[in-house]
């Protein structure tokens, strides 16, 4: 017999999730449509919610949760964030950003995002890693 299965995640995304699952560094995985499809336990400490609780949400919704600002505390457009640059400009980006923690405080973090290219330069998604800067909550 045959049956239609769910739309499978691509292998680069599956491998990115497995990597994220085994890291203690906050890591977010967006798919090729810009949807947040996974974040690890360490990232849960930023959002205050588990991935199983949040499910898949749009990059826009993620941006609203994090309220990203630049290092001078000016609002940051989503497309200027490291993940936005990686997604829209298809290149890696690293910069200091201020994120809103789940408890309402803000924290400076170093953020690195890079696109996941597969065969034929197909964009499978974007991975963003946050590197906390100690003692910067406000």
């Amino acid at each position: 017999m045959t049956a239609t299965g769910p739309a499978a995640k691509s292998l680069p995304l599956i491998l990115a999730r497995e990597l994220a699952s085994n890291l203690s560094t906050p890591m977010f995985v967006l798919d090729g449509e810009g949807t947040l499809v996974f974040f690890n336990d360490a990232a849960e400490l930023i959002l205050g919610k588990a991935h199983s609780e949040v499910g898949e949400i749009s990059g826009l919704q993620l941006g609203e949760m994090l309220e990203l600002r630049d290092e001078h505390d000016a609002p940051m457009r989503r497309r200027d964030s490291p993940a936005g640059v990686a997604f829209y400009q298809r290149r890696p980006e690293h910069r200091t950003v201020r994120v809103k923690m789940f408890d309402g405080t803000h924290r400076l973090v170093e953020a690195t995002a890079y696109p996941l290219f597969g065969a034929g330069d197909m964009l499978h998604g974007v991975v963003t890693v946050f590197w906390p800067i100690n003692g910067t909550s406000s």
Partner: protein, 289 residues
């Protein structure tokens, strides 16, 4: 379709008295379609005797579907008689790579000093294809490939004929450092290839107690293969890619463990063996040898 196993050993050919029941040749499975077309899954050392048999009734065209290019899956190419017949047209399908074409990668093996005959000097006409993400029709079947977790570019194959499905994932570690049960179906490597397969030929290289020493090597333990088959709703699980260090007796112990682990969740579990023949058609699935 009629499925016949010509080699089911993993990693390295392992001939000898202790492997005679299940066989020592590396991965090679022939699938004869109702249309008469022949698909050859992988080109391990089992491809040599398959080629001898195919030459009894020479075919103008055939398809070789490679899962990946590790030596145990390509070593038989240099001994596959149809490739040495100028009037043969052999299509070779395999995983895409961002670095080199399929032909260039195979030529690394099929050239001196590893092999005396260069790929370019093989008499048959060869056409290379990247494994298709979308369905492609060959004779009376459709085939589709999907990337799976292993070392290096690797694909599994789904072959469907008249609603019956064979899934072939000879080298596959479905999860690494993650609980398989914690993943939704769409996050499970290989699920899209194997779901609701009537016959699933799947990597079963390690015992569960061996696996911790081989995490990330790209192969399954018993817990993996039974869990994956259950999650994929595979009706018949054929344990494949036997470890070269496992004797026939070792394999039968692993089969016992697999059956206990799977419980009633998988209809039928068995060990692949050379000569195993499975008919898969409108009447159902029949293990005929």
């Amino acid at each position: 379709m009629r499925i016949r196993v010509w080699g089911c050993r993993g990693s390295l050919a392992a001939p000898g008295a202790s492997t005679v029941r299940y066989g020592g040749n590396t991965s090679c499975v022939a699938v004869e379609l109702e249309s008469g077309d022949v698909l050859v899954l992988d080109a391990g050392t089992g491809m040599r005797p398959l080629g001898v048999e195919l030459e009894q009734e020479p075919r103008a065209e055939m398809h070789v579907l490679l899962s990946h290019l590790h030596l145990d899956h390509v070593q038989g190419l240099g001994f596959f008689r149809p490739l040495f017949r100028p009037d043969a047209h052999v299509h070779i399908w395999g995983p895409a790579s961002p670095v080199q074409s399929l032909a260039d990668r195979l030529a690394i093996y099929l050239s001196p000093p590893l092999f005396p005959v260069r790929l370019a000097d093989i008499p048959a006409r060869i056409t290379f294809h990247d494994g298709p993400g979308n369905e492609v029709t060959i004779g009376s079947a459709t085939i589709r490939a999907g990337g799976v977790t292993h070392q290096g570019p690797t694909i599994g194959w789904r072959i469907e004929e008249h609603g019956r499905v064979l899934a072939y994932l000879p080298d596959h570690e479905p999860v690494i450092g993650v609980d398989l049960e914690s993943l939704a179906d769409d996050w499970l490597s290989g699920y899209d290839i194997a779901h609701h397969a009537d016959v699933l030929l799947h990597d079963a290289q390690y015992g569960d107690e061996e696996y911790p020493r081989h995490v990330g090597w790209g192969h399954s333990c018993i817990e993996h293969v039974t869990g994956f088959a259950r999650r994929a709703h595979a009706a018949n699980l054929v344990m494949f890619h036997h470890d070269p260090y496992h004797t026939d007796d070792d394999l039968e112990l692993l089969l016992d463990v697999a059956r206990k682990t799977a419980g009633d969740h998988v209809e039928h579990i068995c060990l692949a063996h050379e000569g195993m023949t499975i008919d898969l058609d409108a009447a159902g699935t029949r293990f005929v040898a």
